[in-house]
């Protein structure tokens, strides 16, 4: 603690000032006597300028400095005379100038404090070097990561767990896992309290162990699911499962109440956000007419059929098998006689058995 008085200076500084003030008239006399005022200042200035110059480097083309890589490149052509004269000195001088330039820029970088002293913060690199390994592919986020990013949950550093945990009962630090760990407390303890309603064969140690193993198995399963999701591989049972889910969802929406009052099965997922949209009872006449006509045209058109057939054509190269069961068609047309009979006398019977869509009366 420095003792500070009304002038804002500490006691020592004030004393110095007092002494200096006393000395000034003595300096004035000294200067005047020795006529130093004219000479000394210029000499001091000259020496100061020399010191400054010793830190600057003058070159034809300025040296390229890359602070991020601690690299300096001198693009000036090599001076042949000094090279031939004394190689080592020439090289050392060149290097000295380059390093001086680099250090000048390094010392002017912003610094950040650290326990080892000030660290200069380096800018990103300018000169690029090739990588040794290809860039890492971004991993798809896991189920939890997706949920957390949607909810806005940030990963804090405080989630880091320590190996030792404070046990209030023992008043001591206990390891969280491993030998004598807290996670195996229920299995290790020498005395178990068995509830009255437990059956005769209840083994508390085994029950605790099974619970722990189940937790581990669940975690493993989640990890495997994450890996499978990340790699994008879907096995046959998983594909079938997702197929069933989509079919189930479609059937639920097929009812008028959008599946709200259907009896739910055990493992079914809750349908969220699917409501029936009720049009207002009073609409304008032309709007009603337009919607009815649109509905009719959708029912009548072969648009979906055409689309379906084009889809099957694109996916299975040979023939659109989805639209027409050829065997059944031939059987119906030929009345069981077969395709050969059909080709022989087919033209006569075509008109009767033709499958034409029924056109309602407009």
């Amino acid at each position: 603690m420095r003792r500070v008085d009304c002038t804002g200076l500490c006691l020592d500084e004030r004393m110095w000032f007092v002494q200096a003030k006393q000395l000034v008239p003595r300096f004035k006399v000294f200067f005047k006597h020795h006529n130093l005022s004219k000479m000394d200042v210029s000499a001091i200035l000259a020496s100061q300028i020399e010191k400054y110059q010793s830190v600057t480097v003058e070159k034809e083309t300025p040296l390229e400095v890359d602070n991020g890589l601690l690299l300096v490149t001198d693009l000036n052509p090599v001076d042949e005379e000094s090279y031939n004269e004394n190689l080592e000195d020439h090289l050392q001088n060149l290097a000295r100038e380059g390093v001086q330039t680099l250090l000048t820029s390094l010392f002017s970088l912003p610094t950040k404090p650290s326990p080892d002293g000030p660290l200069a913060i380096l800018p990103p690199r300018i000169y690029q070097l090739p990588r040794a390994k290809p860039l890492p592919k971004p991993k798809p986020p896991t189920k939890w990561e997706r949920f957390a990013s949607a909810k806005g949950i940030q990963k804090k550093g405080s989630e880091k767990r320590d190996k030792k945990v404070w046990d209030e009962e023992k008043q001591d630090w206990v390891s969280r896992w491993g030998w004598g760990g807290k996670n195996r407390e229920k299995e290790i303890q020498w005395l178990h309290v068995v509830p009255a309603n437990a059956d005769a064969e209840f083994d508390p140690r085994k029950a605790a162990r099974d619970e722990r193993k189940e937790r581990i198995a669940k975690n493993d399963k989640r990890q495997q699911q994450n890996i499978a999701r990340a790699s994008g591989s879907t096995s046959a049972p998983q594909q079938r499962k997702s197929e069933i889910d989509t079919t189930l969802a479609t059937t639920r929406i097929s009812t008028a109440s959008m599946g709200k009052f259907d009896r739910k099965l055990d493992g079914e997922k809750k349908m969220r956000g699917i409501k029936r949209k009720f049009e207002p009872t009073e609409t304008r006449v032309d709007d009603e007419a337009k919607s009815s006509l649109a509905l009719l045209s959708k029912m009548e058109s072969d648009g979906k059929k055409i689309r379906m057939s084009s889809k099957t054509h694109s996916t299975e190269g040979a023939g659109g098998e989805g639209t027409l069961n050829v065997r059944k068609a031939i059987r119906f047309e030929s009345k069981g006689r077969g395709g050969v009979a059909l080709s022989r006398g087919g033209s006569s019977s075509r008109g009767r058995g033709g499958k034409k869509p029924m056109r309602g009366r407009r």
Binding site: L70, L71, L75, L91, R96, L129, L135
Partner: protein, 337 residues
């Protein structure tokens, strides 16, 4: 040849994860391999280079019959195998023959394949032991200094610079303790002969004459002494230390352009870097005075007359408090519709 290793326990899994590619890479681990015949000079030079490169250096003890520039041999496969097994991405191969005495080859790898190679011959070298001066601490990052305009123009010297920077430079760092800068490696060329100046690129095929006409390269290592000057920036004085080599350029193999392009790919700029002001200037994004990244969203002008607000039934005024006139007028309105 290398089998894909599956981790059987947590420790091996950690080792495998450490070998996976990262966004910001570590220093290149270098393997020093001796060819069939090396000799004193090469042995010492390789020892000194390894001392400068520690701890990211591995030295093979036995001699290997490896000729990187011989395309018909299986040398490249050997290099790839060693790189995979040791998780190394750079090689220094020493081989001395009658035709090419004291030859040192630098090989760089990318993605388990050979990226580019460079061979130099050593003439006049002086080891660390011959300089009776204090040496720098091993493991400290060196400053690098290149002096010649050829390092920017001539493709062979551009490759040499890239190779040497990659070799000596350690891992990427974003802050450095300034007193910790102890030594500098200075690479300079002999004066450029006039033949190289007139023709920017040798249009004719690279013949032996061309390699002979390339100027010699001098590599020197100095320790840095900082002297007080009048300003905050100290004056630099250099004291020679460590190996000094005079190199002659020999054969080389430039990188395949496709592979080079892939190797030079940068990771996408992160948000923190965009906030700092790096990256291309994106429209509607700017960094304000507080250092936050702000964006502008342009939407069409909103017609306030058509604004749909929440319907507060309680604020409607209540029908029972209305007088007859209002009711009549409202009824009239309804009928019209």
């Amino acid at each position: 040849m290398l089998r894909a290793v599956k981790a059987k326990n947590a420790r091996s899994k950690r080792v495998l994860d450490a070998r996976l590619p990262k966004e910001v890479e570590d220093a290149r681990t270098t393997i020093f391999v001796k060819g069939t015949h090396t000799g004193d000079v090469l042995n010492s030079v390789m020892k000194e280079l390894m001392a400068l490169k520690r701890p990211h250096a591995i030295a093979f003890n036995k001699k290997n019959a490896i000729l990187p520039f011989d395309t018909s041999s299986t040398s490249h496969q050997s290099l790839e195998f060693w790189a995979g097994k040791n998780d190394a991405s750079m090689f220094v191969v020493g081989q001395s023959t009658k035709k090419r005495p004291h030859g040192l080859s630098f090989v760089r790898m990318y993605d388990g394949r050979v990226l580019d190679m460079l061979e130099v011959g050593i003439e006049n070298w002086a080891g660390m032991s011959s300089f009776k001066t204090p040496k720098s601490t091993p493991g400290h990052k060196p400053l690098m200094h290149f002096a010649s305009e050829l390092f920017d123009t001539h493709p062979r010297f551009v490759q040499l610079k890239s190779m040497l920077v990659d070799f000596f430079n350690g891992e990427e760092i974003d802050s450095i303790c300034l007193p910790g800068i102890e030594h500098v490696i200075s690479v300079s060329c002999a004066p450029t002969p006039s033949t190289l100046n007139t023709a920017t690129l040798p249009t004719s095929g690279v013949t032996q004459d061309d390699t002979a006409s390339l100027p010699k390269v001098h590599v020197r290592t100095y320790t840095i002494k900082l002297l007080a000057s009048g300003t905050r920036i100290p004056r630099v004085e250099l004291v020679p230390m460590g190996p000094s080599l005079d190199l002659v350029m020999r054969r080389h193999q430039p990188a395949d352009s496709e592979l080079w392009k892939q190797a030079m790919k940068r990771p996408k700029l992160k948000k923190t870097e965009v906030e700092r002001g790096l990256g291309k200037k994106k429209k509607n994004l700017e960094v304000d005075d507080m250092g936050d990244l702000r964006g502008r969203v342009h939407i069409a002008k909103q017609d306030l007359k058509k604004l749909q607000t929440r319907k507060m039934k309680g604020l409607k005024g209540g029908d029972e408090n209305q007088d007859e006139d209002m009711e009549d007028s409202r009824e009239v309105k309804r009928q019209k519709v």
